[in-house]
Point group: C2
Chain length 490, copies 2
């Protein structure tokens, strides 16, 4: 896949539906994005977890379009699509059939029960060792049609029933989903929440050796279908490095908090330290449909004696600085009060996290784009969007603060703003300059950062001071060397 900037977006919140999104990409955003990640568009796309709990994972929600629309997008762009491997919706036909018929259901065995995970029972020690994204135990009682009560493993919400990925029925189900996606010409699948997919009694059951074997299996099924695999795991940074060695692609989820720390605390050292060790087979991000991950730069959640990329005091200060910069709106959207699925994330648009400073926001994007990997831009960040308090209040879902529904008029208005125009120029520069096909050298210390890409005679250098927010770019063009402030790129 070409190392050009990618877009990540919902099908409904940017262009209204799949044809609307395709139209935007062909007109206002023409030539900007090599790849596009369309967040779950399955039926229904607007369930308890905003598409990550489809009732039918092989059906495009008719309100958004058809598989033909997906195929058309895949013709024009390298398309990424989610495969939800950890669970199915409690309203899926498979689960409803099992509730109705129990052991006579053809899907019996597909759903992970407490007894299935712990046939001999579980002790407190075993239960407390489980690594969880939320407080409380991951189990929900369901009553079958015959009155039998069963306890189902539910890692996320009680409407998302975990599946037993060891069972042949489950594996056939997952292969069917992957085949349907591949048939539309999709280039890459993202394995959602795969870190939690394999449960092993007595272990944390998060990214264990058995999880890696499962990822290997899924990767093999995907490669058979010419699909690349992107693994979504929020985790301790050393574990992320290990994971990156074993899979096609990972996210660099450490980058967003480190860039924020640099720009808010005027301290680039933790970012520079990460640059020296980070994996480069990464999708780089500043913002996603989820919150800004704190766990990715914190101490090891399973062994607090292993320090993170930021210390506890730096992390606390970072979270407070984001809340200050956003005028307190991120505080309303974060933590237990906001029905958060993941308590370890701060919900805020990246533009608001930087206090709506155009200069610092543009510098954050430049730091992202100069970092080795494939840069991905979230649709709200593309338009330098601000926190949507109205939507948050309506849904009381914390993450909705960064999931605005854009009208066409809002898109057109956003595109006229200088910060968005400068960002589009930066994206085109990143896509076009040949130096980015070469190697990157990072230097600096304190508040200074210099990142230099060279490829033969071509050069693209970013020189920045994270304390002042000043940044210049030096680049080669037609044999000469030019320098301009970051917002002065051609």
């Amino acid at each position: 896949m070409a190392d050009r900037v990618e877009l990540i977006t919902y099908a409904d919140r940017l262009g209204g539906d799949l044809p609307g999104l395709a139209h935007l990409l062909a007109t206002r955003f023409a030539g900007l994005f090599g790849g596009v990640h369309v967040l779950p568009f399955f039926r229904p796309f607007d369930g308890a977890d905003a598409g990550f709990d489809p009732a039918d994972h092989t059906e495009v929600d008719a309100r958004l379009g058809t598989w033909d629309d997906i195929a058309a997008l895949a013709q024009a762009h390298d398309l990424t699509v989610d495969v939800i491997v950890n669970h199915v919706s409690s309203s899926s036909p498979q689960f409803l059939d099992w509730l109705a018929h129990g052991s006579d259901s053809e899907w019996d065995g597909m759903f992970l029960t407490f007894a299935g995970a712990f046939p001999d029972g579980a002790t407190e020690d075993v239960l407390m060792r489980l690594y969880r994204p939320r407080p409380g135990l991951p189990f929900t009682p369901y009553t079958l049609a015959d009155g039998t009560k069963r306890l189902l493993w539910t890692t996320f919400t009680s409407q998302q029933v975990d599946i037993d990925v060891r069972h042949p029925t489950t594996r056939a189900y997952l292969r069917g989903v992957i085949a349907r996606i591949a048939a539309a010409g999709v280039r890459r699948v993202r394995l959602d929440a795969v870190g939690y997919a394999v449960k092993t009694p007595g272990l944390t059951s998060f990214m264990t050796a058995e999880t890696f074997r499962f990822i290997d299996d899924v990767t093999a099924w995907c490669h058979e279908q010419d699909l690349e695999v992107l693994v979504e795991v929020h985790s301790y940074y050393r574990r992320q490095i290990e994971i990156a060695r074993q899979v096609d692609r990972v996210y660099d989820f450490a980058l967003p908090p480190l860039v924020l720390h640099a720009l808010l605390a005027h301290d680039a050292d933790p970012l520079l330290a990460w640059m020296a060790i980070r994996p480069t087979n990464a999708i780089t991000v500043l913002d996603t449909h989820d919150g800004i991950g704190v766990v990715d730069v914190g101490a090891d959640g399973t062994d607090r004696s292993r320090p993170g990329l930021l210390g506890p005091d730096q992390l606390d200060a970072l979270v407070e600085s984001i809340h200050d910069a956003s005028g307190g709106t991120s505080r309303l959207a974060t933590g237990a009060a906001a029905s958060n699925v993941d308590l370890y994330q701060v919900n805020c648009t990246f533009y608001d996290a930087l206090g709506r400073s155009d200069d610092r926001y543009l510098l954050a994007r430049a730091l992202q784009f100069w970092t080795p990997g494939t840069p991905q831009v979230y649709y709200v960040g593309l338009l330098a969007g601000t926190n949507d308090i109205e939507l948050l209040n309506r849904t009381t879902v914390g993450r909705d603060v960064n999931r605005h529904h854009y009208t066409s008029a809002e898109i057109d208005e956003s595109l006229t703003r200088p910060v968005v125009q400068a960002l589009l120029r930066l994206i085109r520069f990143r896509n076009a300059h040949p130096a980015f096909g070469g190697d990157c050298v990072v230097d600096g210390g304190g508040s200074a950062v210099t990142m230099t890409w060279t490829s033969g005679a071509d050069l693209a250098r970013l020189e920045a001071d994270v304390a002042t927010g000043a940044a210049t770019v030096t680049w080669t063009a037609d044999g000469t060397q030019l320098t301009a402030p970051l917002d002065g790129l051609p």
Copy 2:
């Protein structure tokens, strides 16, 4: 204890505080109530479960008054006070000390952990056999000061930590609480949620043989202090009958739904059937600070083949009829949407449950007062109160719909209403007429109910038609026999 009508009320919601409540009882309500049950007044009286989660169970909340105020109330009335035997607050000094010091705490052993309950672990079968007032598992993780994670048994909210009633430390704690209450001259203690207090691996752990032995122990501790014991258990009606045989006093929680069924479905037969078998060492109620219990007249929750006093269709119709009668306000306050502690209760004032019909409400009270046992009237019912949607919206606690805070002006205004005046006359009649010291004969069928008390030459008869709501009372007075409509009592 004299068989006169009792009042049940919060200390703060009727008269503002304990002295205010005492003043009301001595003035506006003078001579009305033989006994008074003051709901938890411990510190704090306004925690996560409205007083049932005190941080200090031996301290009167200073905002309400002092132990001297309790003693003064106990001088004037037969006073009932709650003893919370199932749990302590997570903010109690005992639990905080244990979180800080673990096994070095003097309270170690007092709190029921998963490992304490299931030293060898628990299977799905064992977990699903537990009888629970709420969906989900009754466990909450807590982290001790040294980083140890423990899983605590929490039957109700996660802030109410169950205690191990087998442990000597717990038993000494409970005896201390009982002694403090007895020292104030209290006459009766109510054992709150005692049905859940004893956990036995492999059993429902609800009102098991071991629970009865625990109740026997607590009863013995109370009798040593001249305290009568009232057991609060919502349960299948046959189990209630068994429980009543083994304790001083129970509630008749089947009465409210059966009276409502009679008056809303025009069918007195289930009520008449219950009259023939119900225990008479009961406190009769229509309304309490909790919701209207459905479980008390439904099929056996642990064995659905054992039918209840109402069939499933009758129960469904009853719940819908209540919602209809209340104009839909009870629906807002009931079920999972309203943060209900107990999903098997309908939250509604009794007056609203009868569509604010004065005649039917008065008839319901007459049916209660004619039923053998000690009649108890909830403060909202005393004033024929309506659903407090404003309070419900503010707290989002379903039961608050029936927990209005009365100002003095509201009390005075309510006392002028004909329905309240008729109710006060009915209470005085029930307290004063000598026939109620004798025996009761119940007769009727279809929509007709006749209940006749006789004692020597004294007689007090209620004749009612639950379809029309018409009711007359016939009674002896000074050797003659009088008859009047229910609202025409002297």
